[in-house]
């Protein structure tokens, strides 16, 4: 194993890992305000990619505009999901809500298949596909886009949660919804906001990854699984852990694919995840007690 290919795997891993991280962030944001795992999170990612492709091809829009529209559209869908399927039944046990999100994910996937078929699509890379040599490894410009935009989102979320009044209110909801309601924070609004932000973050992840890994109506399932795995790896509820968990998972997977076998890359990622959970029952950066439900 020479250094150049090791570096190559690392770069690929970080790129994919960044999307896992964004998906995991989406899970974390909704989990923190509602205590549920939103199984439709992977579908938000799929929508980001697929809608970008659709706006470009069917409406002939330029790529940046198509992506912005796709992200906006997904955010709107996130809001609709909360208003129509979650809010009316929010007092139900968590497991019921989780099943509802599973139903929603099936529904979205079904609609996507109906609208866009079962084909695989590619989104053009944002700034050309010519690789740049980087210490012997080939660096795709898109990789830089993925990493830069992911970092931007992370920084934006950090600002939002620590500076803005809405962000602080959302954090308050996650610590203690009853107390938050008592001090006049509209829990309903915060849950709605959390679905919108999750959808937005997921859609951005989907759009920036689509030029690299291609997209189709069913990419959300595996991306959702990986995102959930990244959350758990980092310690559920911890946004920093989620992002880090995504990167770690991506790199592990890429190294596994390169060093062992690409057929078993997913298996390897999960074997490591299991081994880690058995040693650290609440993830890498989680609180000591592995229970938060």
């Amino acid at each position: 194993m020479d250094q150049a290919s090791l570096l190559q795997y690392l770069i690929t891993g970080l790129t994919v890992g960044a999307t896992y991280g964004l998906t995991a962030l989406g899970f974390t944001i909704i989990f923190n305000t509602t205590g549920i795992i939103n199984f439709a999170q992977g579908e938000f990612v799929m929508l980001g990619g697929m809608m970008s492709v659709f706006f470009m091809r069917a409406l002939g829009l330029p790529e940046p505009l198509a992506i912005v529209l796709a992200v906006a559209g997904t955010t709107l869908i996130g809001a609709l999901v909360e208003r129509l399927a979650i809010r009316p039944v929010r007092d139900c046990p968590a497991i019921n809500l989780v099943i509802i999100t599973i139903g929603v994910s099936i529904l979205i996937r079904g609609a996507a298949m109906l609208l866009w078929g079962k084909d695989t699509f590619a989104l053009p890379a944002f700034s050309g596909a010519a690789p740049v040599a980087f210490f012997g490894a080939a660096l795709m410009p898109q990789t830089l886009w993925v990493l830069a935009i992911s970092l931007l989102i992370l920084a934006g979320l950090k600002m939002f949660f620590s500076r803005s009044i809405h962000g602080k209110a959302m954090l308050a909801c996650s610590f203690d919804p009853k107390a938050a309601a008592l001090v006049g924070i509209g829990v309903d609004r915060m849950v709605l906001l959390s679905f919108m932000i999750s959808a937005l973050v997921g859609a951005v992840g989907g759009a920036i990854l689509a030029p690299i890994t291609l997209t189709s109506f069913d990419v959300g399932v595996m991306l959702g699984l990986k995102g959930f795995a990244a959350c758990i790896l980092g310690g559920l509820g911890n946004p920093f852990g989620a992002a880090a968990g995504g990167l770690i998972l991506g790199v592990l997977e890429s190294l596994g694919a390169g060093l062992i076998s690409s057929a078993y890359k997913d298996a390897l990622a999960f074997v490591i995840l299991l081994a880690l959970l058995f040693v650290r029952p609440s993830g890498l950066f989680g609180q000591k007690d592995g229970k938060r439900v």
Binding site: A85, I106, R109, F228, I232, V271, L274, F278, P281
Partner: protein, 332 residues
């Protein structure tokens, strides 16, 4: 014995009689296949409801156990020529053994972390089914599995296989009721509500979690071996993550703790896609929509929904009905 147990036994009797009489009424072979699949899925779901609904431990990997049973018996009987009865036993045994090995560390985890661990285990198994082509036949499937036979006698008709599966489903339900109406069932419900209090009552919670995990995996393995010898063809797609999720949905849709409800959930979720097949492209979409609506409007699942409906009808029909002694709660 206790009133509850007798009522459950009566229910089981009625259920078996209906399913015994069903095939001639359905007439068509296609319906018989669907009904057989209903029974197999119900077998897994009942075990899972003990684990999830009663003991409060989630598993998102039960499709893996289902597949493990199926592939073990397929490989033993087809590739190695082991008699079917023996290979089926080995399939259930292997599933239970693997469940014990996985459950030992996994059941120390709680809530979402346990969900992740079992999910990861299921994904790993499903990748193995796909990639170990030499053993499993890979994504295109395992063909030529011998039909069900015991002691040299082959179950030559689909109807005979159906009755055999039905008998085993009856056995599984009977065992499930026995568990629920015994100290084991009480221990499970106890550790679900309060692990501390359960320990204070001398319940070894780790042992009981593992026990019910293995039992539910064994039920899934049993369904798997039957499935393999019934269809004589298996493919990894049947044992993936999405099926694990469907199994959980069956339990939740059934109302979590009710065995009849879980069976209703399993039947409903097995029949629904067949029914929706008529709608071709919108099939998946409708499936998702129905799932969402069911969960929104039947929060206690089918069991809760039907008993509410039943009470409503009862009251409407017999205004001066006897007062339910359990209703109305405590006197304070």
């Amino acid at each position: 014995m206790s009133v509850g147990y007798r009522r459950d036994m009566r229910w089981l009797g009625g259920f078996l009689v209906v399913l015994l009489l069903a095939p001639p009424l359905l007439g068509n072979n296609y319906y018989l296949t669907v009904l057989t699949m209903c029974c197999l899925n119900a077998m897994i779901a009942v075990g899972l409801s003990l684990l999830v609904g009663h003991a409060g431990q989630i598993s998102l990997g039960h499709a893996g156990f289902y597949g493990l049973g199926a592939y073990t018996t397929a490989a033993l009987s087809t590739t190695l020529g082991v008699p079917v009865g023996l290979s089926m036993l080995a399939g259930v045994g292997a599933t239970s053994g693997v469940a014990a090995l996985v459950g030992l560390p996994a059941l120390k985890l709680k809530g979402h972390y346990l969900a992740m661990a079992t999910l990861g285990f299921g994904v790993i198994l499903s990748i193995l089914f796909n990639e170990t082509v030499g053993v499993t036949g890979g994504p295109s499937g395992f063909t030529g599995i011998p039909r069900l036979s015991l002691f040299g006698v082959e179950f030559s008709s689909d109807l005979s296989v159906y009755y055999f599966i039905l008998a085993l489903l009856g056995l599984v339900i009977w065992v499930a009721f026995n568990i629920l109406h015994s100290r084991v069932g009480r221990a499970l419900r106890a550790l679900h509500t309060s692990e501390k209090a359960a320990q204070a009552m001398g319940i070894d919670i780790a042992r009981y979690k593992l026990f019910i995990f293995v039992v539910s995996a064994a039920f899934a393995g049993l369904a798997g071996v039957l499935y393999a010898h019934y269809l004589t063809f298996i493919a990894p797609a049947s044992f993936g993550f999405l099926f694990s999720v469907q199994l959980i949905v069956m339990v939740v849709l059934g109302g979590m703790t009710s065995v009849p409800g879980t069976i209703a959930g399993a039947f409903f979720l097995t029949v629904l896609p067949e029914f929706l097949r008529a709608f071709e492209n919108v099939e998946i979409l409708l499936f998702g929509a129905i799932l969402v609506l069911c969960m929104m409007y039947l929060p206690d699942g089918l069991a809760g929904g039907s008993s509410r409906l039943w009470r409503l009808v009862w009251r409407k029909m017999f205004v001066r009905a006897e007062k339910d002694p359990m209703e109305g709660g405590g006197n304070g």
